[in-house]
């Protein structure tokens, strides 16, 4: 089989090679012949030109060079000149003659110059008569030179050249042709011998028993057979190739048709009869191919979908549609519902009568089921969402309620914070009040005692006293008004005791004590004089009683003032402002009130520096303003551990009042500085603070549209509050 294919291949190649070699030969000739003709014509022209030039030269020489010799009848010179000219093969003969006689006539005869009398004749002889003029006189002809040219050598040369060209070209073409032929023979023809031999054999056996074919006729037949065989082989090959392709296509189509993932069915357009269905189609609808052949598509279509498809098919038949697509339901052989995506295409061209319809179906039951499931899930989800929404709404309500609770709790906490601050304040204020109260109480007791026990003595002294005694009494009482340094008093007392001891005066120690107490500060001598006279004792006693009385009353007055100051401050602080709108208020007065309340907590360790500018009133809620200062100052005191410098600067800042409260306690650590205004943030120990202080301060400041910030460094920490004026 392979061998056969090979042979066929070679036969075909052989035919082609022969054509090729002929073509090469023809093309060669076609190219060379015109070129040769062209070359020959050009050559001819060139030769002619050369010849004409030569002839003109000869005639010129004849006219010029021959003239003196003719004029002088110098025949010998003429002979030499003519002989010279006759050396040229193109010149046959020259005759010089006057009108009357011939002077000389020479002819070239086979390379020799001979005297002649007969004009030469021949096909290629050309005769020309040239007049010879007398020197410088163009009109006077002295002789005629008759020249016979011989054109033959030139012609001969020309044709020789032509033939030579033909021969060379012929030889070249022959060589090329021979080369092609040899090459063809070596590469193509030789393998064909096998076939030729086989055909010869076949021919021999075919003619066995019959008359033997002559060798010549066989050769003729062989050539024909060879051509025929070549043609047939080509034809067979074409047919075989076409068949193979058809077979392949059919197999492919069959495989495609049967193994397609989609169901394919051919339907008669008019009747709807099912003609041919593929495997997948059968699987989808559940019927076998044979069963389907007796059915129409309507038989297996779900009854609800028949009408729609019939309508679409009618449109297809009447040419409105070329194809259509729909999703429809089939009824499976087992009664089950099958969803399919159906594509219907007509199998006739426009204008032709309807033949068949091709229907391609795809089982989309799963997808439809999934869709249904999704819809179902979606509905469920919606229900769930609704349910959840309801739950959330409930939760939201609960949260809102919780927020309300928180808000009230927050309000309560804020209140608690206020109360906590108040509590701390009250502790301080209690002391602040207790001290003056204790003094008042004590002074009252003293006064009572004096009035009860000593007043009688004083009155008695006053009634009985002599003038000098009374003077002593008065001066002592007068002195007692002056305040004296405790240490000085002690030194004085020691001095007096020493003096008494030195003088050896017997005196009551009480007298000295009392004198010092009521502020007596007389010189030693004066003192000795005073105490050495016992009569003065009653005056001293009386003066002491009155002085103490004075002092006690003074103490009561001072204490009362102090107490009332504290109470006033407390009253201002706790004043419940019922105003809903902010009012204009003196911020300096407000801060001073707070400082009064904190006086007790600050008096031992805190130095207060006040730098107050003249500032306008601020717009605020006065009761809430205290809380701002109380919290900030309270924090400042705490930060300094009640020892340090509290600086309060009140200044004008860009049409606002800026209150800066600085303490020189340790700086606020960087990591908490952002949190200090947050609620419930505290650095204090558990139970010491609620952590709401600065949060409240911030709220209060913001409530009256103020601003607050904090600056902290190694030297001091400052809270700045800006308030609207």
């Amino acid at each position: 089989m392979a061998q056969k294919a090979k042979n066929r291949f070679f036969i075909k190649r052989n035919g082609l090679a022969q054509k090729l070699s002929v073509m090469v030969f023809l093309i060669g000739i076609l190219i060379y012949i015109p070129s040769i003709i062209f070359g020959a014509v050009t050559n001819l022209k060139r030769i002619n030109t050369e010849l004409t030039d030569y002839k003109r030269g000869v005639e010129m020489r004849v006219q010029n060079a021959f003239e003196p010799a003719i004029w002088n009848y110098d025949i010998e010179s003429l002979r030499k000149l003519i002989t010279l000219e006759l050396n040229n093969e193109n010149l046959k003969s020259i005759r010089v003659s006057t009108e009357k006689l011939s002077l000389i006539w020479l002819t070239s005869e086979k390379g020799l110059v001979v005297d002649e009398t007969v004009a030469p004749e021949g096909k290629y002889i050309e005769k020309k008569v040239v007049p010879v003029f007398r020197m410088d006189e163009k009109e006077r002809v002295i002789a005629y030179a008759t020249i016979w040219y011989d054109n033959f050598p030139v012609r001969e040369q020309y044709f020789k050249q032509l033939i030579y060209d033909f021969l060379i070209v012929g030889a070249i073409l022959f060589a090329i042709s021979a080369a092609v032929t040899i090459s063809s023979y070596i590469r193509l023809v030789r393998p064909l011998e096998v076939i030729r031999n086989s055909i010869i054999e076949a021919g021999k056996s075919a003619s066995a028993g019959k008359k033997k074919l002559g060798k010549a006729s066989f050769a003729r037949a062989f050539a024909e057979i060879k051509d025929m065989a070549t043609d047939m082989e080509d034809m067979f090959e074409g047919i075989e190739e076409a068949n193979r392709k058809i077979r392949e296509n059919e197999a492919q189509f069959r495989a495609f048709f049967n193994q397609a993932g989609v169901g394919v069915v051919q339907v008669v357009a008019q009747s709807g009869d099912l003609v041919l269905a593929n495997q997948r189609y059968c699987e989808i609808v559940g019927y076998s191919v044979e069963e389907l052949k007796n059915m129409t598509y309507a038989d297996i279509t779900h009854k609800d979908d028949v009408k729609e498809q019939r309508k679409l098919t009618e449109k297809l038949i009447c040419g409105e549609l070329e194809k259509y697509r729909l999703e429809k339901r089939y009824t499976h052989k087992n009664g089950r519902l099958v969803w399919a995506d159906v594509t219907v295409t007509r199998l006739w061209e426009t204008g032709e009568s309807p033949t068949y319809i091709l229907t391609i179906i795809q089982d989309i039951t799963d997808r439809k089921m999934a869709e249904e499931k999704i819809i179902k899930l979606n509905n469920e989800l919606e229900e769930k969402v609704a349910e959840r929404t309801w739950d959330l709404e409930n939760a939201n309500h609960e949260l809102e309620a919780a927020i309300e609770d928180l808000k009230s709790a927050q309000a309560q906490l804020i209140n608690t914070e206020k109360m906590a601050v108040l509590g701390r304040l009250v502790a301080g204020i209690a002391h602040e009040l207790n001290t003056p109260l204790g003094i008042i109480n004590s002074a009252g007791g003293t006064i009572e005692r004096i009035l009860r026990k000593e007043l009688d003595n004083v009155i008695e002294f006053c009634c009985r006293a002599h003038d000098d005694e009374y003077r002593t009494y008065l001066s002592l009482v007068h002195n007692s008004a002056e305040q004296q340094d405790n240490a000085y008093k002690r030194i004085l007392r020691r001095t007096y005791y020493k003096a008494v001891e030195e003088k050896g005066i017997r005196t009551d120690e009480e007298i000295i004590e009392k004198l010092v107490d009521i502020g007596y500060k007389g010189e030693k001598d004066e003192f000795i004089e005073l105490v050495s006279n016992p009569k003065n004792f009653t005056a001293i006693q009386a003066a002491y009683s009155i002085a103490i009385l004075h002092k006690s009353v003074g103490m009561i007055r001072v204490s009362t003032e102090k107490a009332s100051q504290v109470i006033l401050a407390l009253k201002t602080y706790s004043h419940k402002d019922t105003n809903k709108t902010p009012v204009s208020y003196d911020v300096i007065k407000d801060i001073e009130t707070v400082l009064t309340l904190y006086h007790n907590q600050m008096k031992y360790g805190i130095e207060i520096i006040r730098e107050y500018e003249n500032v306008p009133n601020v717009i605020c809620f006065p009761d809430k303003l205290h809380q701002i200062w109380v919290n900030i100052i309270n924090n400042a005191l705490h930060a300094m551990n009640y020892k340090g410098t509290l600086k309060i600067r009140i200044s004008n800042d860009n049409e606002r009042v800026k209150v800066s409260i600085s303490n020189n306690g340790p700086p606020i650590p960087e990591d908490i500085i952002d949190k200090i205004f947050e609620p419930f943030f505290t650095t204090k120990m558990l139970g010491e603070g609620t952590g709401l202080g600065l949060d409240i301060v911030k709220r209060l400041v913001e409530e009256i549209e103020g601003d607050i910030n904090v600056e902290t460094n190694q030297d001091e920490t400052t809270f700045n509050v800006w308030l609207k004026t």
């Binding site: 002391h431 207790n434 204790g438 002074a443 003293t446 405790n486 002690r490 120690e509 103490m555 031992y604």
Partner: protein, 131 residues
């Protein structure tokens, strides 16, 4: 003749000192010397002076919160130097907690709150000095 025993009062408020002295005078009459100082430093000097004068200090009554040296520091020093001296603290209600904490350490005999009640004051003093 100088009295050989004394009661020392320390308070930054002169009026307190005067009142206290009047209370003591009213009750103990001339039985003791009543010395007073306006702050702890002065009080320590005073005590040293009195001791030098061979005056027996039977009691120191001091305020708790004072500028400069505070009550606890002052009493600590007194206790270190003169352990036999009895001490009483007069204080506002707010400082009671702090005083109680320090009480053991400074060998405190008693605490009197401001404002004091005369009878209570005298009773406490008498208890301490064991008269």
């Amino acid at each position: 003749m100088q009295k050989r025993s004394a009661i020392v009062c320390v308070d930054d408020d002169e009026m307190i000192l005067i009142s206290l002295k009047q209370e003591l005078i009213a009750h103990f009459n001339g039985r003791y010397r009543y010395e007073s100082a306006l702050n702890a430093e002065e009080a320590l000097d005073l005590i040293d002076e009195l001791v030098a004068d061979k005056i027996y200090i039977i009691l120191v009554i001091t305020d708790w919160l004072m500028p400069g040296m505070n009550g606890d520091e002052f009493l600590m020093k007194v206790h270190e130097k003169y352990p036999e001296i009895q001490t009483l603290v007069i204080t506002g209600y707010a400082d009671i907690l702090a005083v109680s904490k320090a009480r053991q350490r400074i060998n405190l005999s008693g605490v009197i709150t401001k404002p004091w009640n005369s009878d209570e004051l005298i009773q406490k003093i008498e208890t301490v000095i064991g008269s």
